[in-house]
């Protein structure tokens, strides 16, 4: 086993050592269901698709993914185990990737457990399963992007609550950056380039593109490079902060 896998395995099991995993999965499933049926109007829409379900994922992830990511490094620093981890023969990059993959895997598990939605919609009608698959992939990749932000912020503080709030705020900015509300604030005084850049940073825009069933390379590159960037910052944050 490589170091990344060993660390990921330990971290993944760590979620199940406490009630956190159970609480998280139950709440995630309850909320995805509630949003899809009550807010999204799954039944009244009269369409055999899961857009009512996926449409609320950015908003759910906004709160729930920072909750998964907040402990990744803050807890190690708080309890001092970071000194143990970083004096084992593991590179910082291995540790960052291992922890990220464990948490991402956990998000994937939670997402996979929403399969009754998929069964339901297939029983009720004949949806385009390609679109649903693309949406699941898009949702998973978007969760990874939220998570990379949360993991990086977690490495900057010993306090999990601060890590959660900061990460949720940054995730919110990335989610909302394409919304007219935010863009209006910049339009009129900021150069068009900046407004375009902000619009292109929006998770919503990219995610909505994917949920329409088209996995466009530019959306994949967007989320992929965002994850890579935040993980790179994560490595730096760990190096800078580990002994503080």
């Amino acid at each position: 086993m490589g170091n990344i896998a060993i660390i990921a395995k330990r971290e993944f099991k760590g979620y199940f050592a406490t009630p956190l995993a159970l609480v998280f999965i139950v709440i995630f499933l309850a909320m995805t269901g509630a949003f899809a049926f009550y807010v999204g109007g799954f039944f009244t829409r009269g369409a055999a698709d899961l857009s009512a379900f996926f449409g609320y994922h950015p908003w759910l992830f906004l709160l729930l993914v920072p909750a998964i990511g907040m402990r990744l490094w803050a807890e190690e620093r708080k309890s001092g185990t970071i000194e143990l981890l970083m004096t084992l023969p593991v590179s910082t990059t291995d540790a960052v990737l291992g922890k990220f993959l464990a948490a991402w895997g956990f998000c994937g598990l939670a997402l996979a457990l929403t399969f009754p939605m998929w069964i339901t919609v297939n029983v009720l009608g004949a949806p385009d399963n390609g679109v649903i698959l693309a949406s699941y992939i898009g949702s998973f990749v978007m969760a990874g992007a939220y998570l990379s932000i949360s993991a990086c912020i977690s490495a900057m503080t010993k306090n999990q609550v601060i890590a959660f709030i900061l990460a949720a705020t940054i995730c919110f900015l990335f989610t909302m950056s394409g919304a007219q509300l935010v863009l209006n604030f910049f339009q009129g005084w900021a150069p068009e380039v900046i407004v375009d850049a902000l619009r292109s940073m929006s998770f919503l825009t990219h995610f909505n593109a994917v949920t329409r069933g088209v996995i466009d390379l530019k959306d994949v590159v967007f989320f992929g490079s965002l994850i890579a960037l935040w993980l790179f910052l994560n490595v730096i944050a760990v190096e800078l902060n580990k002994s503080r």
Partner: protein, 325 residues
């Protein structure tokens, strides 16, 4: 044996604060080096640099010839490290935790199992293997941390306050363990407990304010004490001054101090010049002058007195308390 640990001009600054100031030191296989110093002297910081947790501001640290800064992963493979406070993953059981460490240490198959079994036996934690570490007592937590450090039978062991918070029996057990393992390893332990240094260390280094102030065997350091071979004797309170004057006539005697006494007796402390043995001289002069005396004892000189003498130098201007331990 060859040099296992070599530190050259090792320095660590935190902003304006110099926590470790140009330490040169080497430790050979078979040596158990006791790292002594007041809180904030730079002991832990030095250990953190050797183990690759902190990057030195300047200077180098080599373990088994491997540079800790340029080749950290290889260097860390040679080291078993017990950080201060023995941090462990509290939600894991000792069994799962040691399994994780064994995986990271690239042990597999039968050697993995035997390494874990040996470590468990050595620190005697077989009774608590399936309890979460956070529910264990301080002594057990410390021992789990030790098991983690010795698991891969490393040539170099760095233990930061390995017996802190243990009861006397556990302390004894850990000291025995260190001695057993020391035959071919280079071991550095940091401690505040000076008897521990005399009990387990072949060499003692005293540091304060980041500088090395003394380096020698514990016995050599004890000899530095001004109280080495000092003689204590009880005499009648009314004769104390006269006895003191008589003893001062001896060549080998440095000074006589009249200490407190009780019940008509007064204790005299006679310090020796250059640490020579003076008990016979003192006894014979008391006999010769006909002074009744009782309870004549010789003090070896205590390591803690040396420790205080060496570390209580004048504070260097502009230096504050080191918070990094």
């Amino acid at each position: 044996m060859s040099e296992r640990i070599a530190l050259t001009n090792l320095t660590k600054r935190f902003g304006p604060l110099t926590a470790v100031d140009g330490i040169d030191m080497s430790v050979k296989g078979g040596e158990v080096l006791g790292f002594l110093g007041p809180n904030g002297a730079g002991k832990s910081t030095t250990m953190k640099m050797i183990t690759g947790f902190l990057t030195p501001t300047s200077g180098t640290a080599h373990v088994d010839g491997i540079d800790v800064v340029s080749n950290p992963v290889e260097a860390k493979k040679q080291i078993g490290y017990l950080p201060e406070g023995a941090p462990c993953y509290g939600d894991m059981t000792p069994e799962a935790f040691l399994g994780f460490i064994a995986d990271i240490r690239q042990l597999s198959g039968p050697s993995r199992k035997s390494a874990i079994d040996i470590a468990i036996e050595r620190v005697d934690i077989s009774g608590v293997l399936d309890q979460p570490i956070e529910t264990l007592s301080k002594g057990f937590k410390r021992r789990v941390g030790l098991a983690q450090a010795i698991l891969h039978d490393p040539p170099i062991l760095i233990l930061d306050e390995p017996t802190d918070g243990l009861d006397p029996n556990q302390k004894h057990q850990v000291r025995t363990l260190i001695q057993e393992m020391a035959s071919d390893k280079a071991v550095i332990i940091s401690t505040h407990i000076l008897e521990e240094v005399e009990a387990v260390c072949t060499r003692a280094v005293i540091i304060a304010r980041g500088k090395m102030l003394a380096d020698g065997t514990p016995a050599e350091l004890v000899r530095r004490s001004t109280l080495h071979n000092a003689v204590y004797v009880d005499v009648a309170a009314d004769a104390a001054e006269a006895v003191a004057t008589d003893i001062r006539t001896l060549d080998a005697v440095n000074d006589v101090t009249i200490l407190d006494g009780a019940a008509g007796l007064q204790q005299l402390r006679v310090t020796s010049k250059g640490g020579k043995s003076i008990s016979i001289d003192v006894a014979s002069i008391l006999k010769e002058k006909g002074h009744p005396a009782s309870d004549l004892t010789t003090q070896q000189g205590a390591l803690d007195a040396v420790f205080r003498e060496v570390t209580k130098g004048k504070p260097i201007a502009g230096e504050g308390e080191v918070t990094h331990g």
